[in-house]
Amino acid sequence: MAHFLFFLLAIVCIASVLGMIISKNQAYNALFLVLAFACMGGFFALLDAPFIAVVQIIIYAGAIMILFIFVIMMINLREGLPPERKKWTLYFALGIAVVLFVELILTMKSAFSSLKSGGIEKIGSPTDIGRLLFTEYLYPFEITSILIIAALVGAIVLVKKRDKE
């Protein structure tokens, strides 16, 4: 069952990323991505990280991608942009993809055998994560507040309409 779920999700996920690459409409791209991220949430759930799985779906699929879709609708381009048409670029991209993939697999191959998949149950519950966030990870947590201020200020400065304009 788990295997089946994994392969199903994996196929959907990869397919939707491929869809994003092939499709020329940005709105579709964004929707493909929502799908891919939702699958990602499924993987997280499979990996005993239910809280992160939910976060993934709520924040990524729910918030970030909605932001994308908003912007896409604001821009509202009439004609879509297909991916690169030039032959050599595509072959090149394919080549790069294969090489990079082989490299990463070779890198991680050593880890395959030593990965222990028998994790403890109940791991990654909201309580555990919350407790860690406010103890061991308090500092990073505080930093994210600065990060969000920076993003907020930056985004507003860049796009707000001035009185004069």
């Binding site: 991680m108 880890a111 990073p140 600065i146 990060l147 201020i149 920076a150 200020v153 507003i156 400065v157």
Partner: protein
Amino acid sequence: MNSFSALIPLLIIVFASLCIMILEAFLKKENKDYLAYISIIFLVVCGFFLVRAWNKDFSYFNGNLFLDNLSLFFSFIFLITTFLVILISMKYISLQGVNCGEYYSLLLLALSGMLIMVSSGDLLVIFLGLEVLSISSYSLAGLRRKDEKSSEAAIKYFLLGCFASAFLVYGIALLYGATYSTDIASIINHFQSGESLGLMALIGLGMFVIGFGFKIAVVPFHMWTPDVYEGAPTPITAFFSVGPKAVGFAVLLRVLYPYLKNVQDSSKAIFLLLCIISVLTMVVGNLIALRQTNLKRILAYSSIAHAGYLLIAILAQDNASLVFYLTVYIFMNIGAFAAVIALGKKDKEYLELEDYAGIGFKYPWIGATFSVFLLSLAGFPPTGGFLAKFYVFSAAVRQDLVPLVIIGVLASLISVFYYLRIIVYMYMKEPSYEVDINIDNPGLFLVLFLCLYGVLQLGIFPGNVLILIKQAVTALL
């Protein structure tokens, strides 16, 4: 010592940034200069706390945040950087129509990102600090909203920066996978113990270096640099050319120094790669700079080349020389950009080489100080630039990196051509048209003199600073 004091400098800076944002809403347009003054006051207060913390080794958050002498020293030079950048910005933002309080606010947020990065030994914290710095930087690059070049710089910086960040994160993930930790010290321990998964850890470290290679702009991860530097508002370019670069080196120092020192066999590969990158960076940066006619682009390529020299210092494992070089570099580079900014008036910047014809006589102070900064960048005695290069190269020679040093010396020989070209234009070319600039810019002239003082002080009487630096780098031992 576990103490809340460790957090104070960061809090001050973030608080300052928030204050400025609030005040911005209440200040009238003509009073916006006060925002700069307020930021400077906060910087001074923060500097005061940093000085007080010297030798105290404060830490907080279970050691996630610590203020050892090295972080204090770096934090302090970042404060100086920001201080100088604020001074050169004051006139610029009103002349070039970027007049907004968020400018200072973002600058201070970027500073806080840098403070976070240098005062932690945890890769996650470093990454978050880097993102604070980067996200502020992306917006800063695009602040000249009417200028298409500025937004182009922002988008290039943003997209490529995120791309590089993804590599960085993946690198951290691999390191985590191999060592189950994000703490630098335990990662190094893992490397040292030579446990299994060495390869994954090695590649993780490699991808981490790639991500930071982007920040410090080394070849081949440098491609964004000239375009972003050209398009960003000039004071921000000055900031980019020193701030992110210095902080990138500070982090690399913390990671690579113990790695190269303690991990004998597997570090060979990274060592050789860094040698290659260093050579490429010096050669490519200096060669392309020869062809440029835009001052900002020349300085951009020059800053790429300097990253190459700085990498030599990392390879020579001589921390004092790296820190000293960075300190000098801040003064000479900001000084050079200040001189470039000086040549501007309302809605007009003079950035082409042609514009500099005869400037040396028309504006003797600008010409003279600019020449000193350029000579310092070229490594001429008795400026700080000479001494910095001298330290780095002699440290490298001690480590038997002679070929690297020879290439470095030759590369800096090439660099003389383009630095000299600017001086030749300033003093030996007749201007073919009138360049008229806004001379009423006290902050900028203050920066010119401070940088001049810094460059000469560090070149002639470096003693005290060196003692401080020596104390600072003992934190790494």
